[in-house]
Amino acid sequence: MNALPATGRLTPGALLRPPYARPAAWVFGTLLGLLVVLPALEVSIDQTLIRATPFILTGLAVALPARAGLINVGGEGQLLLGAVGATGVGLALPDTLSPVATLPLLALGGALGGLVWAGIAAGLYVGARTNEVIVTLLLNFVAVSVVAYVVHGPWRDPDSASFPYTADFGAGGTVPLLPGGTAHAGLLVALVAAVGVWLVMGRTRWGFRARVVGGNKEAGRRSGFNVSRTLVIALVAGGALAGLAGAIEVVAVEGRLRPAVAVGFGYIGFLASWLVGHRPLAVVGAGLALAAISVSGDNLQIDAGLPSTTVYILMAVVVMAVLGLRRRAGRQG
């Protein structure tokens, strides 16, 4: 359990080992906390569920590659390219198509967008031995420019008086809602994805291989696994999940692509995954908790008159409280 050996050396195993033995603790803790706090803060449950969807999906986009030993800081950019991909599909599809056909195609467009973006980092990692942490981080900044380019340039809504957004591709009204509320059903996609990642990692041959490679590449190689292919698949699958989040934001929340779509969501998803040691099911709990905090930001400023950035302080405090929860490291010298 000790995160750092006596010398304080930061070993790879220690870094990737989940800090909690039981992700269930996170889920229970979160639900308990939410039960107490949400009513007190008058935070809307529907809004929390809507916001949690991208956090969970971008969290999974970190969790999945992490189990194979790759750190994906690029959820933010993969989400944006997913938004671009879904928008491209949405603008190209005829209006007459039924939602039964449209929605899966939009989702596919989003997943592909995120997949391609993660694919760049994965390809460079395997082909040129570049560091995936840095490449995925840098690609986030590039993604922001890609979105700006398409909304200012080729895809700008011809009816918008030069204002930078794409046309409304009219899929918003067709998205099913969760029963008993106004939240869209994107959360179900996130939940299915979480269960899917959990099953794949824990119950399939590929998942086993990925975990072996994640534990020790050399061991993976000696076992005859195609290490490069495993790593590429893990990273692009993560990208596809983040891309799905972008598609959901554009289709179910925004209705069109705008430059400020989902700013910062990918980074919060990154924190969500680290908070729970990359356990796919526990990412759901972390995503819900961070979503509740994020949504409470409005109440903080509207009701309490605090500056809008107070929510960042709150989020940082919560995250550090949990991250610092590991057993005290062995002191040296």
Binding site: V36, H152, A260, V261, Q301, L306, P307, A321
Partner: protein
């Protein structure tokens, strides 16, 4: 194995308790008292940006002063996405019956929320579309930019003016055009160079943009950015003169300051709230697409040290003619950069001008895209 679990629960509980305490300490929960109006304001940036958002925030303060019994709700840094819908609904939950979404991109979210809440009145700043309970208002700030251009055209010695823009949207292009036309009305040789920073507030980039314009010989600088301080400081330090935008920042560079185009939202906001309170929104000027002119919501700031008596006289004369309707800056023929006539005859309607997608001749620089 159970230790981390317990600790974990404690930590999460503490963190949430902290959140609750923050609300409890700062919150004033007595909202919704009988007969009390609640008015919400949304800003796209920080409300103290020394520019666009601060001008709108100042207007909200005027409302709070004029209606001491009203509760004024504020939300800053509200992105131009569906997020804004959430914030507006949140304000409505808190009893808001009048909402001012003050950024262009808040329009569509406002229209969406308005459909759900027919009893709430929305006054959107700068929009082109309206609905039953959504009116838009703005100011013809390009008129003030024209007058500021007159000052710049007279003050320049190099015959080169510099414009630091954010994104190439219609509002910005219209301002650039008006500035060049104003300058050319007093100085036919003058050109205006436009540099887009593709950001509304990145001060370090604004400094670099200003420097690049001055490197190319511009000696009067203006801008269309949300935060305005750095462009003014940088230009003044390099010995260039400035005209301001959004906000009277003359004290930043009193000697380099010529004049500026600025918002004065207070009276408009107060009058709009009074109209709605009296039940007179329907059919009023706010019910639709209202544009306040120079001298009302749009003002020329006081002159600065760089404005000679001659400049002051010409600028004031131009402003007076615009106010009286005698001078319509976009009276044709107006040619674009390629020499094509864009406006052949009389000045187009404000609606058409607000869809400007070209730069007039005399402007150096291209619309990227």
């Amino acid at each position: 194995m159970s230790r981390p679990k317990v600790r974990h629960l404690i930590a999460v509980a503490i963190a949430f308790a902290l959140a609750a305490t923050l609300i409890a300490c700062g919150g004033d929960e007595e909202s919704g008292a009988e007969g009390q109006t609640t008015i919400g304001f949304l800003y796209v940036g920080p409300r103290d940006d020394f520019g666009y958002n601060q001008a709108a925030f100042a207007g909200s303060q005027a409302v709070a002063e004029a209606f001491p019994d009203a509760e004024v709700l504020q939300a800053e840094n509200v992105p131009e996405t569906a997020e804004a819908e959430r914030v507006m609904e949140n304000m409505i939950d808190d009893g808001a019956t009048i909402i001012f979404p003050t950024s262009f991109g808040h329009l569509e979210p406002a229209l969406n929320v308005a459909r759900k809440y027919p009893d709430v009145t929305f006054l959107h700043q700068g929009g082109l579309d309206t609905a039953e309970n959504v009116g838009t208002y703005f100011g013809t700030i390009w008129q003030a930019q024209y007058a500021a251009g007159v000052a710049a055209g007279m003050a320049t010695e190099s015959n080169r003016l510099g414009f630091v823009g954010g994104f190439p949207i219609a509002q910005v292009l219209l301002n650039v055009n008006a500035y060049e036309l104003g300058a050319r009305s007093v100085n036919p040789d003058v050109t205006t160079s436009i540099v887009f920073t593709s950001n509304w507030c990145d001060p370090a980039k604004q400094a670099a943009a200003t420097n690049s314009l001055i490197d190319q010989g511009a000696d009067v600088i203006t801008q269309h950015q949300d935060c305005t301080n750095t462009v003014i400081e940088t230009a003044a330090r390099r010995g260039a003169k400035v005209t301001g935008y959004h906000f009277d920042a003359s004290r930043v560079a009193p000697e380099a300051w010529l004049t500026g185009a600025a918002w004065s939202w207070g009276p408009l906001y107060v009058d709009a709230v009074r109209t709605i309170e009296a039940g007179g929104f329907e059919g009023s000027k706010y019910d639709g697409r209202y544009r306040s002119g120079l001298g009302e919501a749009v003002q020329l700031t006081p002159f600065g040290g760089a404005a000679t008596p001659e400049i002051r006289e010409r600028v004031e004369a131009a402003a007076a003619e615009i106010r009286s309707g005698e001078l319509e800056p976009f009276t044709g023929p107006i040619r674009d950069q390629g020499g094509r006539v864009r406006i052949p005859g009389p000045q187009p309607s404000v609606e058409e001008l607000e869809e400007t997608d070209y730069l007039v001749e005399g402007v150096t620089g291209e619309i990227p895209g």
